[in-house]
Amino acid sequence: MSKKTQKTPEKKPAPRPEPAPKKAVDPRMHPIPLKVEYDDKHTNDFRGDVKEVGFHFAGYEWSSKEQQLLIDLHYDQLYYWKLAELSKMGRGFLDGELWGTQCPRCGDKFFPPRVNCWRLDEELQRTDWVRLEPQGHVHTFTIAGWSGKSSLKRLPFVLAYVVVDGCKTAIANELRGVKPWDPEFKMPVKVVWAPKEERRGVITDFHFEPADGWKPGPMNPEKERIKELCAPVYEWVKTLK
């Protein structure tokens, strides 16, 4: 007798499992897309098709007196920087719109965006996206005469911390359209976007400039001092290749 035809003792069919109750999703949870396809690709727009080479030996140096060896090693890395739930902000940069977030309960508004409220008693209340007016005022600022490799050629520049559109936080970005010695605390500024084809979805897609109608005050000893400190920086930048 084959197993197939073997009679099994009559048995009450097991009750069908109840459909799992639909779990209530805690509205504070950030949704996670199951799958993301990036169909609008601009991967070669800015530097061309970057080739990763990993470890690359560029040479070596030997000290015959001290018997010491130094090796020139280059190592590169292309990052896939997923903005995920912050994509609204990045898309806004590309489109020339400034998006921050706001807690629907306490009303605090943030730029750069915080995805959850910062008040402990709000227990990670998720914030809502809000479009911000592209204007604000300078909270503090500095005049940079030195920077990272990527920014040396644009020295000296002013980095200003700006409170945008009544946010509870300040964002740092370059303040242009003003001599480095002319900015003032609390001065009103506006957001100015890079040309559309130059935008990359990042914070440097915009910079600040003085609000229309703002005029710097007259030269004073502190401004003269800053001007004097900037002079050699201008000269040094000219020597960069």
């Binding site: 005469g145 030195w146 000296p156 300040a170």
Partner: protein
């Protein structure tokens, strides 16, 4: 400096054995490694190399990374581990190899420890963030560039008495050895109001110290140990622009604090350390005899004076101008040279500060330094401060002579 990390730490352990002859490698029950940036070393988990090459296989170990406060945090971890009763003898070893890359690349590496979605992309590096904070602090407290420069002059000139300091050694020997305010004012603009001499050095270096139970210390290091009487660790926002109205601070210290001018995590961790050590805040200045604090920038040293309750808005100008923190002042600060003098090899820094303070409280300074000029005689209480980010993580310790 030309040493691989395992050799730096080996040298430091050998020197510790000179100071505490009863200390042997076999005593080590746990190792806490202190290292900030794997970028500089082109090496992930570099502590595995150091640990292995010290011969310590089998001994438990881990690494602490907490920005500029990596050293202080490693000390804190070792302190907790002894307090827990689990271990009696812990080695804390830290290093950094920042000269593996160019200065401007190094500046950008360190800026990767800011929120890279924002400031770092906009061209910000740490001296720029600190300058923006210092600029507002300077205005609101009636200070000048020259006031900040005093700290730079003091620490670099102290460092000339410390032959282990970077400012004393190698390529830096060609620089002027007795700096003046004028030298600082004339040095290159880094970011207003900070000039080159207002900023610490980028360094290769290592440090080691032992954290033990008091019983072990009494038995094996009599006359050569200090007691950690207070320890505090606190945190703040990564972006300075996020602390204008942060509820966690405003509910503790009031509206408008810390803004971008005060180091709230320094105040909080300092208060916690003072509480533990039984020091009243308004008597802190009188209660402490010597301090090694995190002068990554001359301005931050001055900001720290205020955060630690040594002065307030009303008297900070006089406090600085009367040179209260110089050798011979009522609270000498950074007699070892500070970060501007001995350098800032991040993972080693907080440990070096602790070791310098230990030298003062065990009277080893005249032996360790080139002379007694930077020795604070009869010091009984010391403060060690370690500081990260834009004030994002800060620890403070109170050391006492037993």
């Amino acid at each position: 400096m030309h040493l691989e990390p395992e050799s730096m730490i080996a040298n430091c352990i050998v020197e510790t054995q000179h100071d505490i002859p009863d200390f042997h490698l076999r005593n080590l029950q746990f190792m806490v490694y202190s290292h900030f940036s794997v970028h500089f070393g082109k090496q992930l988990a570099p502590e595995w190399i150091v640990h292995d090459h010290l011969g310590l296989v089998g001994v438990p170990h881990f690494r602490i990374e907490n920005g500029g406060n990596t050293g202080g945090s490693a000390l804190y971890a070792a302190f907790l581990a002894v307090k827990s009763g689990m271990f009696d003898v812990i080695g804390v070893a830290g290093w950094e190899t920042m000269d593996n890359v160019s200065q401007s690349q190094g500046s950008e590496f360190i800026a990767l420890a800011s929120d890279t979605r924002y400031e770092a992309l906009a061209g910000g590096i740490y001296p720029i963030y600190y300058a923006a904070m210092a600029h507002k602090f300077m205005k609101e407290n009636g200070l000048t560039e020259e006031d900040f420069a005093l700290a730079a002059v003091k620490n670099r000139n102290n460092a000339v008495d410390n032959e282990k300091s970077q400012w004393y050694r190698g390529e830096y020997q060609q620089y002027k050895r007795d700096l003046t305010i004028d030298d600082v004012m004339k040095s290159r603009l880094m970011s207003y109001p900070l000039k080159r001499y207002d900023c610490c050095l980028m360094s290769r270096g290592g440090a080691f110290c032992l954290i033990t139970s008091e019983e072990w210390a009494k038995k094996h290091a009599d006359g050569r140990y200090v007691v950690i009487d207070g320890a505090g660790l606190s945190s703040c926002t990564i972006r300075a622009g996020d602390r204008l109205n942060f509820p966690g601070w405003t509910e503790m210290y009031g509206e408008g604090y810390p803004d971008m001018t005060e180091f709230a995590a320094c105040r909080k961790s300092g208060e916690d350390a003072y509480d533990m050590a039984g020091i009243e805040y308004d008597k802190a200045l009188k209660s402490i005899d010597v301090a090694e604090i995190h002068d990554a920038f001359s301005s931050s040293e001055v900001q720290i004076y205020k955060a630690l309750h040594w002065c307030n808005k009303d008297n900070i100008r006089e406090f600085v101008r009367e040179k209260r923190t110089f050798m011979g002042g009522d609270l000498p600060v950074n007699p070892g040279g500070g970060l501007m003098g001995y350098g800032h090899p991040v993972g080693a820094t907080g440990i070096m500060s602790a070791v310098e303070c230990y030298y003062q409280l065990t009277d080893l300074t005249p032996k360790k330094h080139r002379s007694s000029k930077t020795y604070v005689k009869n010091a009984n209480t010391g403060l060690v401060n370690s500081h990260a980010g834009t004030g994002t993580s800060i620890s403070n310790f109170i050391f006492r002579r037993p």
